[in-house]
C-alpha cells in the first residue's frame, strides 16, 4: 500500500482536525504543537546521484550508512589524526527523547545531520551546533513482531527526501527540510513476522531494502522501491523455490557440519522443499558496484533457527553472499558460508567491495565480509567464489557441535564472532577492522510446526552463567588472512567501526568507552567515557574546515548494555 500526501489531503486533514478537535487525545496533540516554538527548516542541499557516487572522496559529508557504496567505512579526512587525537573533545551532545538501544549511523548532508532512535523516531540536527531542526515520530501500528530490540539503524538520503523503515514493516519517505511525511509504503505484514530495523540504501532513483524475520518463519526478500513514489520496482526472494542445493557436508572453512544427509533426504521426500517458511532475512545494507551494475548483500539464518529436521537441504540462500543485477533484481551469483545452519550463525555484517590479492597474488575486485563464525571471508566479485578465509578472530570450541535437547556448549555463541557490526578498512595498510564477541552458549533443540508468524526458534541458545565473556577489536590483513593486531575489551563488542585517513580506527564499548586506536599498531590513542553503551557505528564529517567524529551512545537491548539517549559529536579545539 502506498499513501501519497498532497496539499489537498493536507487541507482535508486540517478540516477534519478542526471538526474533531473536541476529542481529548487530539486536543492534547494540538496544545503540544501550538506551544512548541517553530523551528527553521533544515537547510539540507539536494542530494544528487553524483554526490552519492563520489561519497568515498567527500570529507565534508557522510552520505551512506557505511560511508560509501563500497561500504569501506573509511573517512578520507586526516585533520584528526594519530598525532593530535588525544586532544579530541565533545563539540556538542544531543539528547533524544527515546532512551533505548541505539544503533543509528549518523548521516550528514551539507550541515544537517540525520539520526534515528529505537521505536522509529527521526531527528534532523544542525551538525555544527547539535540544535534540533525537526523530530519525526513514526505512528507505530499496534502489531509489531521483532526479536532483538526496537532498533533502527538510520536513514538513506536522495534528492530532497530522507528514507527510513519501521518496526511495523513500512518504508517511509520524509521531506528532508521539514520532516513532513511524503509517502509511506507497507513492505510486508508484521502479523506474519516481518519487521524492519536496517537503514535503506539509495541508488539510481531506487530505495533498496531487505527484511527481518528469520526468527518467525518468513520467506525473506530483498527489494527496490521507486524513490519518488514508493512503488515496488523489483523483488528478489532470498529463498528460491529450489532451496536444496548440493547437500554440502562442510562449511566454507572446511569443517564437517555433522549433517545427517540420509535423514534430510527422507524428510525432503516426505514434506517437500521448505522454501515458503525458510527465513533468510536481509537486515544490513548491500554494497553497490556501479561499474558492474550489481549489488552484493548477505542473507540471514534459516527458520527455525536451531532445528534443521523440518528444513532439509542446504537452505539456499541463507547464510550466503548474494549478488544481483541492480536494474532488474535478477540473480547473478552466490556463495554459501554455512549450509543448513542450526546455530543462528547468520551472515549479517555488511560486505565491503575493495581490490584484493587473489590466490596467485594478482589484484582482483573482491568482496570482504565478517561472519558470526569469527572469520573474515574474502570472495571474488565476478563469480562470488571464495579466495581466502582469515585466521579465526574468536576461539572456536566444540565448533559444529549439533544442538541437543539437553543443550550442547559451543563457541562462538549465536551472536558470533562478529554480529551486525560493520567493519571498516584501511586500504593503504590492507587491513579490515572487526569487532568481536567471545560469548560461549549452550544450544538446545526442540521441534515444533510452523507457528504462522510467531516466534520460531526451534530451541534455545543460552549464555552460560559464570563463563567468561569479552570482546576484541581485530585488524585482519585481507590479502594474507593474518591477524595483524587484536585488542581485548572487557565486554563483548557490538556496534561498528570507522577508519580514517588520519590512520585512526574509532569504535565504542558496552561500558561507555569510545576509543581511537592507531590503525597500524592497535595502540589506544584516545578514550572518552560516554555514560552509556557505545553500540553504534561512528561517522565523520567537516564543516567550515573543521572535522568532526560523531557516534550514538544508547546501549543495546539484545545484550542488555547500559541504555542512554546521546548523540555525541567530537572535534579538535
Amino acid at each position: 500500500m502506498v499513501r501519497m500526501k498532497s496539499s489537498h489531503a493536507r487541507a482535508a486533514a486540517l478540516t477534519a482536525l478542526l471538526a474533531f478537535s473536541a476529542l481529548p487525545a487530539s486536543a492534547q496533540e494540538i496544545e503540544h504543537h501550538k506551544t512548541e516554538k517553530a523551528k527553521p527548516a533544515a537547510p539540507a542541499p539536494t542530494v544528487t546521484q553524483e554526490m552519492l557516487t563520489n561519497a568515498g572522496s567527500d570529507a565534508k559529508q557522510f552520505l551512506h550508512t557505511n560511508a560509501n557504496y563500497e561500504q569501506t567505512r573509511f573517512y578520507p579526512g586526516k585533520q584528526i589524526n594519530a598525532s593530535n587525537v588525544s586532544k579530541l573533545r565533545p563539540a556538542w551532545i544531543f539528547q533524544m527523547d527515546v532512551r533505548e538501544s541505539l544503533e543509528t549511523s549518523p548521516i550528514i548532508v551539507g550541515e544537517v545531520m540525520y539520526v534515528t532512535t529505537s521505536f522509529d523516531h527521526v531527528y534532523a540536527l544542525n551538525a555544527k551546533t547539535g540544535e534540533e531542526y525537526w523530530h519525526y515520530k513514526h505512528k507505530m501500528g499496534p502489531i509489531t513482531t521483532y526479536c532483538c530490540g526496537p532498533n533502527n539503524r538510520g536513514v538513506a538520503v536522495l534528492g530532497d527526501k530522507v528514507y527510513f523503515a519501521t518496526l511495523d514493516a513500512k518504508l517511509v519517505a520524509l521531506d528532508a527540510k521539514t520532516g513532513s511525511l511524503v509517502w509511506e509504503t507497507e513492505i510486508a505484514d508484521p502479523e506474519l513476522g516481518y519487521s524492519e530495523t536496517m537503514a535503506p540504501s539509495a541508488v539510481n532513483g531506487k530505495i533498496l531494502i531487505g527484511t527481518n524475520g528469520g526468527e518467525y518463519g518468513i520467506r525473506g526478500f530483498f527489494r527496490a522501491y521507486d524513490a519518488n513514489t514508493g512503488k515496488l520496482v523489483w523483488n528478489f526472494d532470498t529463498v528460491p523455490e529450489d532451496s536444496v542445493g548440493v547437500w554440502a557436508t562442510k562449511d566454507a572453512s572446511g569443517h564437517d557440519m555433522h549433517r545427517d544427509i540420509a535423514a534430510e533426504k527422507a524428510q525432503l521426500a516426505k514434506t517437500g522443499d521448505p522454501y515458503k517458511t525458510l527465513g533468510g532475512g536481509v537486515w544490513q545494507n548491500p554494497a553497490v558496484d556501479l561499474k558492474l551494475n550489481r549489488i552484493y548483500f548477505v542473507v540471514g539464518n534459516p527458520s527455525p533457527d536451531l532445528d534443521g529436521s523440518k528444513r532439509p537441504g542446504d537452505n539456499l540462500y541463507t547464510d550466503s553472499l548474494v549478488a544481483l543485477d541492480l536494474d532488474t533484481g535478477k540473480y547473478v551469483c552466490h556463495f554459501q558460508y554455512i549450509p543448513h545452519d542450526v546455530w543462528d550463525l547468520d551472515s549479517v555484517s555488511p560486505p565491503i567491495l575493495i581490490d584484493v590479492k587473489d590466490k596467485d597474488g594478482k589484484t582482483v575486485p573482491g568482496v570482504v565480509h565478517a561472519g558470526k563464525t569469527g572469520y573474515v571471508y574474502v570472495n571474488k566479485r565476478d563469480d562470488c567464489g571464495i579466495i581466502r578465509i582469515s585466521d579465526v578472530m574468536v576461539a572456536q570450541e566444540n565448533f559444529w557441535t549439533l544442538p541437543t535437547p539437553k543443550g550442547a556448549r559451543m563457541l562462538p555463541g549465536a551472536n558470533g564472532g562478529v554480529e551486525w557490526s560493520p567493519m571498516a578498512v584501511n586500504q593503504r595498510l590492507n587491513l579490515t577492522y572487526a569487532v568481536n564477541l567471545h560469548q560461549p552458549m549452550t544450544y538446545q533443540v526442540q521441534t515444533s510446526p510452523y507457528p504462522e508468524g510467531k516466534l520460531w526458534l526451534g530451541g534455545a541458545f543460552k549464555v552460560i552463567p559464570g563463563e567468561e565473556q569479552f570482546g576484541n577489536v581485530s585488524a585482519v590483513n585481507y590479502n594474507t588472512g593474518k591477524i595483524k593486531w587484536q585488542v581485548q575489551t572487557p565486554q563483548p563488542m557490538m556496534g561498528g567501526v570507522l577508519a580514517t585517513a588520519g590512520d585512526l580506527v574509532f569504535t565504542g564499548e558496552a561500558n561507555g568507552w569510545f576509543r581511537a586506536y592507531d590503525a597500524e599498531s592497535g595502540k589506544i590513542l584516545w578514550s572518552f567515557q560516554s555514560g552509556a553503551g557505545v553500540n553504534a557505528p561512528p561517522s565523520a564529517y567537516a564543516i567550515d574546515g573543521k572535522e568532526y567524529v560523531v557516534v550514538g551512545a544508547g546501549g543495546n537491548t539484545q545484550i542488555d548494555f547500559k541504555r542512554g539517549n546521546n548523540i555525541i559529536a567530537f572535534t579538535l579545539d
Binding site: K39, C147, P451, I559
Partner: protein
C-alpha cells in the same frame, strides 16, 4: 510571526495525516458492551478477580489482539476465554485490544522475592536474554507481552504451560521455557510480578 503560524499549522496537518481520526469499524458502544463482559473476571478497575487471571488493562495492544485471535482459533486454549471470544470477530479483537491497551495498568504492589530467589531469577534472565524481547524493565512492546507487575500466580501458571506445551500458541516461548529449570519458574514469576510498570517507553 506569520511564518511561525504557518509552519505550526503544517505540523498539525502532518499529525492528522499520520494519525487518522477515522472511527474503527466497530462502534464505541459495542466495544464498551464487550468490555463489560471482561470486567466480570479481569476486574472493574483493572484488578482481576482471581489471582490466576491476568491483568489486561494497560497491556500492549498488539499482544492483546494476538491473544484474542489465538483464543478464537484455538491456538491458545482456555475454557473461560474460548467461551468469551466465540461470538467475537477480528474487528472486535482490534477494538478491544485498543480499548484495554489505553487503560491504566493497576499497581498491585506485589512483594519482592527473597534475595536468593531474585538472584536465581536474574541468572536465568541474563542467560536466556529475556529482556532482548520483553525489553528494558519487562515493559514489552507490540506483540510481546508486558510482564512487569503481572499477577505472580498467573505468570507461574502460564510459564509452566509454555514449558509443558499446554500453552502452545508460541513455540518460541515454549522452547525458551524448556531451557529453564522447573525450580526457577517460581522465582521468575515472583521477580517479574514485583517489578514496576513504567507507563510506556516513549
Amino acid at each position: 510571526m506569520m511564518s511561525a503560524m504557518r509552519s505550526a499549522q503544517i505540523a498539525i496537518a502532518g499529525i492528522v495525516a499520520a494519525f487518522p481520526l477515522v472511527p474503527t469499524a466497530v462502534s464505541a458502544a459495542s466495544v464498551e458492551e464487550n468490555a463489560q463482559t471482561c470486567a466480570g473476571c479481569h476486574g472493574e478497575n483493572g484488578v482481576p478477580q482471581a489471582k490466576t487471571t491476568p491483568i489486561i488493562w494497560g497491556q500492549n495492544e498488539g499482544y492483546l489482539y494476538i491473544q484474542l485471535r489465538d483464543f478464537k482459533s484455538g491456538a491458545r486454549k482456555s475454557d473461560q476465554m474460548s467461551a468469551v471470544v466465540a461470538s467475537l470477530e477480528k474487528a472486535d479483537f482490534k477494538a478491544l485490544a485498543a480499548h484495554f491497551a489505553g487503560l491504566k495498568w493497576p499497581i498491585l504492589g506485589q512483594p519482592s522475592p527473597p534475595k536468593d530467589a531474585a538472584k536465581a531469577a536474574l541468572t536465568v534472565i541474563g542467560s536466556v536474554g529475556c529482556t532482548s524481547c520483553h525489553l528494558d524493565q519487562f515493559q514489552g512492546d507490540g506483540t510481546t507481552a508486558r510482564l512487569a507487575g503481572q499477577q505472580s500466580e498467573y505468570l507461574f501458571n502460564t510459564m509452566t504451560a509454555f514449558r509443558d506445551g499446554s500453552r502452545a500458541n508460541n513455540p518460541g516461548m515454549s522452547d525458551l521455557m524448556k531451557a529453564v529449570q522447573p525450580s526457577d519458574i517460581k522465582p521468575l514469576a515472583e521477580y517479574l510480578a514485583s517489578l514496576q510498570v513504567v507507563g510506556g517507553q516513549q
